[in-house]
Amino acid sequence: MNRLWPEPTRVLVVEDDQATARIIQARLEMEGLIVFLAANGVDGLDILHREAIDLVTTDLMMPAMNGFRLVQEIRDLPPPKGRVPILLISSNQNEQDMVRCLAAGADDYMTKPISAQVLVERLWRMHQRARSSS
């Protein structure tokens, strides 16, 4: 499917596993997106403050600041940064965690292992929704 991402679309990928982060980065760059990598929530928040980020994907379990806290911190920011669409990725299939994250303000949730194609599709839909609502 051909998606026409508006240029430039910046995605923040917060993931402590470098291998996973780089493979996600490669796939998103193939879509023409600009990718920023952060190894934990603290670094991710720092990048979010500095850059005009359009989408965030974050792992749930991370050192320093986990994905759940990161979602809360982002949602506490004033708009537009506080409204950036967030996709949570976790290796944990616990439904309660999913509900907690969605309740904290995440827009969507995926559990590992993930299909890169599905990931891109979800990001696309989140981005479309955010654009139509803004």
Binding site: R22, I23, A26, E95, Q96
Partner: protein, 359 residues
Amino acid sequence: MHLQPERVLQILIWGSLVLAAFLGALVVLGAWIQYQQDRLNRRRIERFQAWEQDLARYLFSTEGEPRPFPEVAPEDKRLFQRFLARYHATLAGQEAEALKALYLRLGVLDSLPRRLHHRLATVRAQAAQEVAAFRLEDHLGLVVPLLDDPVPYVAHLAAQALARSGDLRFARPVMDWVLREERYQRERLLRVLEGFGPGLLPWLETHLDSPEADPESWVLFALLAASLRHRESAPRLLQLIHSPSVDIQASALKALAALADPLTYPQIEPLAHHGAWPVRAQAAKALGLVGGPDAIPALIALTSDPVYEVRRNAAQGMADLGHAGTEALTWLAEDPAADRFARDIARERLEWADERGHL
């Protein structure tokens, strides 16, 4: 025996020299080992970085284009297996299939049966992981004996590999392994069983002995129904809340709370008066989730329970109900005629919610 002073001096000098030479040799050996490790690490990093780029090109090549991946040198095969293993828990779908194709290209499949019985636990463990990661269905049978492996993590990986296949032919040996493990590991064991997916629950219902004969398996059944939110298990869970085992009752209540079906409320409510506090504590958790605001009178009654855990769960259950629950808690906290236990726990929960900005 009497030694001349010159002789003693000579012995001391030679002894010191030998000791110094020995220590020097140790230092050189240590440095050499360190050098070799650094060299291997550098090589690993260099290879991994190159393969990462190759892998991205290989996985995400446009449809119709050939998937290029450079040949892996024979001396790098072990390293490449480790590289591929890093992605097994991460990638699914087309990418997982492409990874499998890459793994099969390595030509290490022939050695898999031998490696599954290798004397080194690390080799056995990696072989079991390969079976799981690359979904090598033909080799699953060879993994079963590893459930009896003397090294616990090898047995654990074997159970994971069998469960992740989703093949219920392996449900019995995996369940037997789970029941041999320590109970304090229940959460880890549940994560393994979840690998089978929801299909395991009907299998358990038909294959387990009665709850009286095999209570631990039924506890696992209930906890699994909870974590998988398996609605079809509700009728059995409603039977299990009347089991003579407190552990089964509490677990079944936990599952019913997770399913949050309001139709089950009338059957859950009487358990708020159960003689065993773990059942009352779980009932306190379940009532609000299942009954919603209608559960408030029952929850208020539980806030004066003699056991702290029951009171805490009841108050938390009310706090989770939102406005109606918070209002009831505020009324309890401020009512001088209310039970002292109930008043204290209501105040505690309100403060707790206030500190977190939930009010």
